[in-house]
Symmetry: C2
């Protein structure tokens, strides 16, 4: 039985986890029954600090998130975690041992973990992850951590929506570090060498520090390189210290405000485009599309001509 | 001085590399001077076999591509290479040694290499990569190879547009293999363990073979796992043999035709949406957007209300 909207919002405002969970599901599914849920919650947002954790598969990001959450919890702050990483134990991608470690934070009432599928979502995964972060923010979480994998455009978009982006690599990434210049390194506010009890950690730390020195300063912020062994908690308080330092830097330089502005702009644009998308692809246009695909396959029309037919349909008479 | 359109197309049809290069640039930049270039070329497309090579940074994908191209060239087939991997030596991301190796194929007139930036492009990188593949196809390349990195949505989109997707990992990826289930493994038609002269190659080959056996067959195709040392060329002829086998499988099962159909559909959709995008964001709407961002920041309106204003502007009176 569906809970009435007012009752759901009341429970959400009252801090009920089940209501948070339900509203995230509504948002993820672009629920037509309650399309304005994000709008209702919007006035409550803007308080959570948003952290992005990203890096290649196998870097131990989830263990690091888990450990970081425990460190943040010692300050009484509440935390929301969004895992959009197919390799994350949160999303069910990893080994049993990882899954057990995750339980450390899974039972803490001050922590809320949500996994997101990596494919499909109509409005795009980056947008959906931003929406879920907004909901956690509105719920009152002090910190929202989003964990992603890889260096794809979607991951970059998610990282851009976060205030502090932490890139996690391992000593074995040696071969890859030079390679990643154009990708991961570019978005790192803080670089973590995890599993740093393995061979080569110091060497890769030196290499990456040198790389950061060579490049232009990013608005006056010099990304620190931190060694961690997330499994044991080594280096995690230091990592959190640097996150707090970066937060202070953003606030004092006015960059945090700019960041929020560009997030708002991206949100408005995304709603406009998602709305146009729904209006464009209805039963009639999709039927016509199917027929046009056949026409293109036999060489009757080109794809551009076919798209012209669809565009004319949308614009109407 | 700009070359007239007819002259450019004539040179392109005559097999001039400079014309190919010029037309790719026009396509990449969505050149307004020549918007219908893809349409003009479209009747010439459909002959090239499209191969996607993907995997984590540092897996040696570019060396593998280089070596694979040399193997393909022994059959007299011509090859186009598109590098959308920020870690690729083709795109300038890697070490000097790699760059030198790339020259092996760079001087062969039967090979054309094009690098693409990984960010920005208006219509989306996956779409742009598909367009460039179309141009190479129209130019007469028998095979077009697209090299990408990572497991992001964009990479998945690019892989989906290819007929055969080769996923490349290294023995050191051991930790990551389980993790990658939901990502790279899912799209692999062929799995390559590169740098297989290193420790652990046989073990990871066994593990991945076991993983493939556990999962459902993909329309009757069982992805082979191949050991290579791309730098020495070891295993590359075998890889090419499996690509050819996969091609034959797709052709005989009718899946190649289905694949082409869904590519055509995606192309038409992308043109429609890119066109709507350009119509939506003009000077007037962008000005209004900027003002609305300010309104949202001070809490006067919500993002959804702001987007409503833009949508009304677009729809007109």
């Amino acid at each position: 039985m569906a809970i009435p909207k007012e009752e759901l919002l009341k429970r959400f405002a009252g801090g009920q986890r089940a209501a948070l969970s339900k509203i995230i599901t509504l948002v993820e599914n672009h629920a037509t029954s309650f399309p304005d849920v994000l709008d209702e919650l919007y006035p409550r947002t803007g308080k959570a600090y948003r952290i992005g954790i990203t890096g290649p598969p196998g870097a131990g990001k989830s263990t690091l998130v888990s450990s970081l959450v425990q460190t943040i919890r010692t300050t009484e702050k509440t935390v929301g975690v969004i895992a959009v990483d197919p390799s994350s134990p949160f999303t069910g991608g990893a080994l049993l041992g990882d899954r057990i470690r995750m339980q450390d934070i899974g039972t803490d009432p001050g922590v809320f973990v949500r996994s997101m599928a990596t494919r499909g979502s109509l409005g795009g995964l980056a947008e959906a992850a931003g929406d879920v972060a907004d909901v956690m923010d509105a719920f009152g979480k002090d910190v929202v951590i989003t964990e992603t994998v890889g260096v794809g455009q979607c991951e970059l978009d998610i990282a851009e929506a976060c205030y502090t982006t932490v890139v996690v690599i391992v000593p074995e990434s040696g071969d890859a570090v030079q390679d990643m210049k154009a990708g991961l390194m570019e978005i790192a506010d803080i670089l973590v060498i995890n599993k740093s009890d393995r061979d080569g950690a110091e060497q890769i730390a030196r290499q990456t520090r040198a790389m950061f020195e060579l490049r232009d300063e990013r608005n006056g912020w010099d990304p620190p390189v931190i060694l961690t062994v997330a499994f044991k908690g080594d280096g995690i308080p230091e990592l959190y210290g640097h996150i707090e330092k970066h937060r202070q830097f953003l606030a004092e330089s006015g960059l945090l405000e700019k960041h929020r502005q560009s997030n708002v702009e991206a949100t408005i644009k995304a709603i406009v485009e998602s709305d146009l998308h729904s209006k464009t692809w209805n039963e009639a246009t999709l039927d016509r599309l199917e027929a046009l695909v056949g026409d293109v396959m036999v060489g009757k029309v080109t794809p551009r001509q076919a798209s012209g037919v669809i565009l004319k349909m949308i614009e109407g008479p």
